[in-house]
């Protein structure tokens, strides 16, 4: 299920034509692979934690911005998300949104 996301953000809209890897330069993929260690390869966990593959890019993006604001919970994700810029969070959200569930 591919979600074509249109956005009003002043960020580059990434071309979605390279969804299936018939390409060696895939925008957002290497960046998104930072999430695989906890969320499984391609965001498909085997052992709990959130599944990311095929999720809506804007939902994921906003969720991460929300986590970044949280200071009360002692959650590793809230700290981790601070390692990425807004642009990077968007890029990896778009990457995951293009993967089949």
């Amino acid at each position: 299920m591919h979600c074509l996301v249109r956005t009003a953000f002043p960020l580059a809209l990434l071309a979605l034509s390279q969804v299936v890897a018939a390409e060696t330069v895939v925008p957002g993929r290497l960046l998104a692979s930072n999430c695989f260690q906890c969320h499984g390869t391609d965001g498909r966990p085997v052992a709990g934690l959130a599944s990311l593959a095929g999720e809506s890019a804007s939902s994921m993006y906003y969720k991460m911005l929300e986590l970044r604001q949280k200071t009360k919970e002692d959650s590793i994700m809230n700290s981790h998300v601070r390692g990425y810029t807004d642009q990077q969070l968007w890029e990896l959200s778009v990457y995951f949104s293009q993967l089949p569930h």
Partner: protein, 445 residues
């Protein structure tokens, strides 16, 4: 199709042991929907890559070379062991929470799903023919377009007075590579007298797994509290202070383990007598019932002998955009054998380096430029007791060399992301197993 059962099947021995129950009972929906990654057809990249070392870095780079490179990227993985006993979570063997059997991983999926040619052999520096770009493993030569060395660590006993020149079987246990030594150390602890002393020595940083030795002291102390009251743990740390998760570990040492753990930073060892397990130190003479010396670590011998470690250094000099050696073209070094500070020597991070390296090689093999700004991350959970854990997290961004310089860039920590758990908890402990399960599946499945 990698479903839960297949993943569990990757574990040797009693597969459901550690990762049973809670770790898998949640998100059953997710598990049933789990789709295995598969190797795509031609992507434009083609060539042969040989990977030496099937640990966290090597297994990851091999898998992602296939996953991202596609069917025309042939990958051979040379690994001396038949399977991979995990170092991560191996401290839980020491307190009896698990066994090495339950945290040992097979290479079956890399072979059968990703089509990687896994060769069980040992290679040495002399097996690498740089001019002809081929490497010998056993009796066969393996030509390569790119060679990736990920052989892990070598222990350096030369600076430990009393240990130089001893044979491997005479040396005190390090248990710093998961496997037989971990089980042996567990047995030594289980068999020690109730009023005995476990001594752990920590080498100067950088060393593999920064929180590891402190975590080890904690789980052993927790065990002693329950099973050998009166026993204590002495930690002789060559570093001036706790190297990772300072808040968490110092709290535990002073709090729940006060009276059990004695922590000596800035420790200097001037002599070790292995026969009596006696150490001469700047804080006095210490007699150990169980002696665990964690020695300084260098790049593995094959990397040294291949001439990839500059004089005066102990790890291979690499360009962190691709982990290609700065000395030998077409040879990459990842994981603990690579000098890539401030990134820690750690399995989770080695997995990330494997991906950067795989992505770079796939691009190179298709005539494209490498990613100009790779990101890596380090995260891990540390057991503090048999039921609670803490965590640490840090993201690394690429910092290019200064304009006009001929140097290489480096990875730098993003300050806002550098954090540790405020306190150890059972929630973190449960999450630890989910992290571990997904990390090992991302690496081996």
């Amino acid at each position: 199709m990698i479903k839960r059962r297949q993943f569990i099947g990757l574990l040797g021995g009693s597969a459901l042991g550690l990762l049973s129950g809670r770790a898998f009972s949640e998100d059953e929906d997710v598990l049933s929907r789990h789709i295995a990654a598969s190797v795509p057809g031609p992507t434009g990249a083609s060539g042969r890559v040989v990977v030496v070392g099937g640990g966290m870095a090597g297994a990851t780079v091999a898998k992602f070379l296939r996953l991202w490179g596609g069917s025309q990227v042939q990958v051979t993985l040379v690994e001396q062991n038949p399977d991979y006993p995990s170092s991560i979570l191996s401290n839980l063997v020491l307190n009896g929470s698990t066994t090495m059997d339950r945290i040992t991983f097979k290479y079956d999926t890399l072979k059968n799903v990703y089509g990687i040619n896994v060769v069980q052999r040992t290679v040495s520096g002399g097996d690498i023919d740089k001019a002809q770009k081929r490497i010998r493993a056993g009796n066969a030569w393996y030509p390569y377009d790119r060679l990736v060395l990920a052989p892990g660590i070598e222990f350096d006993y030369s600076g430990l007075p009393g240990l130089e020149g001893l044979s491997y079987s005479q040396l005190p246990l390090h248990a710093w590579i998961g496997g037989a030594q971990t089980t042996a150390l567990r047995n030594q602890i289980a068999n020690m007298p109730s009023s005995g002393t476990v001594v752990i020595t920590i080498p100067p940083a950088p060393y593999r797994c920064p929180p590891g030795p402190y975590e080890r002291a904690c789980v052993i102390a927790d065990y002693l509290k329950k099973k050998k009251r009166g026993a204590r743990v002495i930690v002789l740390d060559a570093n001036p202070d706790i190297v990772a998760e300072r808040h968490g570990f110092s709290t535990a040492f002073a709090g729940i383990y006060g009276g059990i753990i004695e922590y000596y930073p800035g420790a200097v060892i001037t002599g070790i007598d292995v026969a009596t397990r006696t150490l001469q130190t700047n804080v006095g003479t210490i007699r150990a019932s169980v002696l665990n010396v964690i020695p300084p670590q260098t790049a593995a011998k094959v990397v040294m002998d291949a001439g990839l470690v500059p004089f005066g250094s102990v790890r291979a000099s690499v360009n962190v955009l691709s982990y290609e050696s700065t000395i030998a073209p077409a040879i990459h070094v990842i994981g603990d054998s690579a000098a890539a500070s401030p990134q820690p020597m750690a399995g989770h991070l080695a997995n990330a380096q494997g991906k950067v390296c795989a992505d770079a090689i796939v691009r190179i093999l298709s005539g494209r430029a490498v990613d100009p700004s790779p990101v890596t991350n380090s995260a891990c959970f540390s057991p503090i007791t048999a039921k609670t854990a803490s965590w640490l997290s840090v993201v690394y961004a690429y910092k290019p060399p200064l304009p006009g310089s001929t140097g290489f860039g480096r990875m730098e920590a993003v300050p806002a992301s550098f954090a540790e758990a405020r306190e150890a908890s059972s929630e973190h402990y449960e999450k630890m197993f989910k992290w571990f399960g997904n990390l090992m599946s991302d690496t081996f499945a």
